[in-house]
């Protein structure tokens, strides 16, 4: 231990002789490590943000729709969504066998339906859903209750409101639960309030998934069907038991629909799993670009160290000769110069951590990404910087270690 301390002390003294030169190569590593950290922060923050927003759709979700873009023209002739209550009942009955945990019908209300309370009006997304919709779509209740089977079966005139609708329709300072609102002239009782869902980032990148989730009014799908006078379902949303099985479950459910309507309609099934896969591909691509550019700055830093150490070895040839005459073994000389290179990069690494942390905080502020500290990354950055130093110091150090003592002593 004391020998290492002495080696470190000697290395510091040697670096101190050419402070400015050492500082420049320290700077190279600092920039490299700071870049690695900043890239890591952005990548982790972006990841976290995207997943948090994707979660608002339910990570195990599968959507079944009629496919209007089918190649087979005959399957585009019939009107309607191609999904009926009977389809839902069938799938719901065979849930276990199909690997479905929950399933909910979704029925849209026409866009011209106005919701109002007193003289307040809102242009909300009015959506008819089944009992398990809120579970599937990861909706959290902040007050009141969720729909129960009785609401659905007996077509109760009850609604759940998303936060934006509450602020528009409900008189401020009053408890929304138990109040009455009107939808298309019919009276409804507010039974539940949904938590806010952020999809700002998805919306900001122009994703169609960026639709606002905060202006929804949910009511039992049976109620909307009654008001519209039909038994049609626009689409089904499922939650699969196993994330990895999502695609299989989706295709089996789609096959059920095809079987139920021979030669009538075509269907498409979309899974959150496939969206996530796409997202991961994009995020990984971005991360790789970042890592490559950060690695280039580290590489430049490493070359800086190699250059500095190469110069040092040349300048200190006589010192190397003296040390060898005194009895230094090759590994002693090697250790000495590696220590100097390692110190340059370790100091650079520590400063890089500092700069990188500040840069990360600033970047998180600017981008609005969440700041997620990663001790693992800090360790990794330090290890990488020291490895870069040792690798770049290796060849100059070996040259020093292998010098012939007499030749080295004779040099000026």
């Amino acid at each position: 231990m004391s020998r290492w301390l002495s080696n470190v002390a000697q290395a510091l003294q040697a670096l101190n002789v050419h402070r400015r030169r050492a500082a420049l190569s320290v700077l190279g590593i600092t920039i490299g490590i700071a870049a690695v950290m900043a890239v890591g922060t952005i990548s982790r923050g972006g990841n976290h943000l995207i997943y948090r927003e994707l979660e608002t759709f339910g990570l195990n979700s599968v959507w079944l729709y009629r496919n209007w873009n089918t190649q087979d023209v005959s399957l585009r002739e019939k009107r309607g969504s191609g999904i009926e209550n009977a389809d839902y009942d069938g799938l719901n009955r065979d849930r276990e066998q199909l690997g479905i945990r929950h399933i909910s019908p979704i029925v849209d209300a026409p866009h011209n339906w106005i919701s109002k309370q007193g003289n307040r009006e809102a242009n909300a997304q009015i959506i008819g859903v089944g009992r398990d919709y809120t579970t599937i779509a990861n909706d959290k209740l902040i007050a009141g209750r969720l729909f129960n089977q009785n609401d659905i079966d007996t077509r109760q005139a009850v609604v759940m409101l998303a936060p934006q609708i509450v602020s528009i329709l409900i008189e401020p300072g009053t408890d929304p639960i138990g109040q009455q609102i009107y939808i298309d002239g019919k009276r409804f009782l507010v039974v539940g309030l949904l938590a806010e869902k952020s999809r700002d980032f998805l919306a900001s990148i122009g994703s169609s998934g960026g639709q606002n989730a905060n202006d929804r009014i949910l009511l039992p799908y049976t109620v909307i069907q009654r008001m519209l006078g039909h038994k049609e379902i626009r689409n089904l949303q499922l939650e699969v038991e196993e994330f990895d099985e999502a695609e299989t479950v989706a295709q089996n459910a789609r096959q059920r629909l095809l079987d139920n309507h021979p030669k009538g309609f075509d269907y498409r099934a979309e899974t959150m799993a496939s969206y996530i896969e796409t997202t991961n591909r994009i995020l990984n691509g971005v991360a790789i670009i970042g890592i490559v550019s950060a690695s280039i700055s580290l590489l430049v830093g490493g070359m800086g160290i190699m250059n500095v150490m190469g110069t040092a070895v040349l300048e200190r040839t006589r010192e190397i000769g003296v040390r060898k005459a005194i009895g230094a073994r090759e590994k002693d000389i090697m250790t000495q110069f590696l220590m100097e290179a390692g110190l340059i990069s370790a100091i650079g690494g520590l400063m890089g951590l500092l700069v990188g942390t500040v840069a990360s905080i600033v970047l998180a502020k600017v981008t609005g990404f969440p700041l997620i500290p990663s001790p693992m990354q800090v360790m990794l950055a330090l290890v990488i910087s020291i490895v870069v130093g040792l690798l770049s110091g290796f060849f100059p150090a070996r040259r020093a270690a292998r010098m012939k003592p007499v030749k080295a002593l004779r040099s000026e």
Partner: protein, 226 residues
């Protein structure tokens, strides 16, 4: 202690002009001797000194140090031999400029893996003995020539070697300081150190107990001093 038989060394190859620096050298030095090697011409004497110090190689002949066949040793073993048995004193002192006097003296003990406290104690003692107690933290550049040479001697003595090798140890010093250093050598010799020294000055060589004279890479004669 030192047994050299038929040793020769040349620079260059047969094809180019071959420079023969040592020709068929026979030299025996017993433990406790103080030998001065003199050579008015050429660099043969320094080459011989480097060979004795296990720093340089040779082309023919044999060299045994304390019974060890030196050419058979690998680089690490040679380093160990120098580390434990030989102390070097140079004309230009050759202290490490960025290290303090104390750190310079500690250096050989760092290579023998001694503990920091042990090293420091020994180095302080050595420097104090040589009259440098108040110069421990000075860098070589802050010391006079004579002081630097005494630090170098302290460093050479650090691992208590049996042999001191000195290449023109007074060459960079004024006469008075040179005499002080020679008196120091004599006293080390009395304490049992074997000393082999190269010089071109007769009055410096006179401090040795034996003078080996060389010319054109050959030993002329061995002379015992008075």
């Amino acid at each position: 202690m030192i047994s050299i038989k038929g040793l020769s060394k040349a620079y260059g190859s047969i094809d180019t002009s071959l420079l023969i620096v040592l020709k068929n050298i026979h030299l025996h030095i017993e433990a406790g001797e103080f030998v001065a090697i003199m050579d008015p011409s050429g660099s043969g004497k320094s080459t011989l000194l480097n060979i004795i110090g296990a720093l340089d190689t040779f082309d023919a002949g044999s060299y045994h140090f304390n019974g060890q066949n030196v050419p058979e040793l690998n680089r690490d073993a040679l380093a160990e031999l120098r580390l434990n048995n030989i102390g070097f004193v140079f004309q230009s002192f050759n202290l490490i400029p960025q290290l303090s006097a104390l750190a310079n003296v500690e250096l050989p003990m760092l290579y023998t893996r001694l503990k920091k406290t042990t090293r420091q104690k020994a180095a302080v003692k050595q420097l104090t003995t040589l009259g440098l107690a108040d110069r421990l933290d000075h860098k070589p550049g802050e010391l006079s020539g004579g002081q630097q040479q005494r630090v170098a001697i302290a460093r050479a003595l650090a691992n208590d070697p049996a042999l001191i090798i000195a290449d023109e140890p007074t060459g960079s010093l004024d006469t008075e300081t040179g005499i002080e250093i020679m008196q120091l050598f004599q006293s080390l010799n009395r304490q049992g150190k074997t000393i082999v020294m190269v010089t071109h000055e007769e009055d410096i060589a006179a401090y040795a107990s034996r003078i080996v004279r060389m010319r054109d890479g050959k030993i002329l004669k061995n002379v015992s001093a008075a």
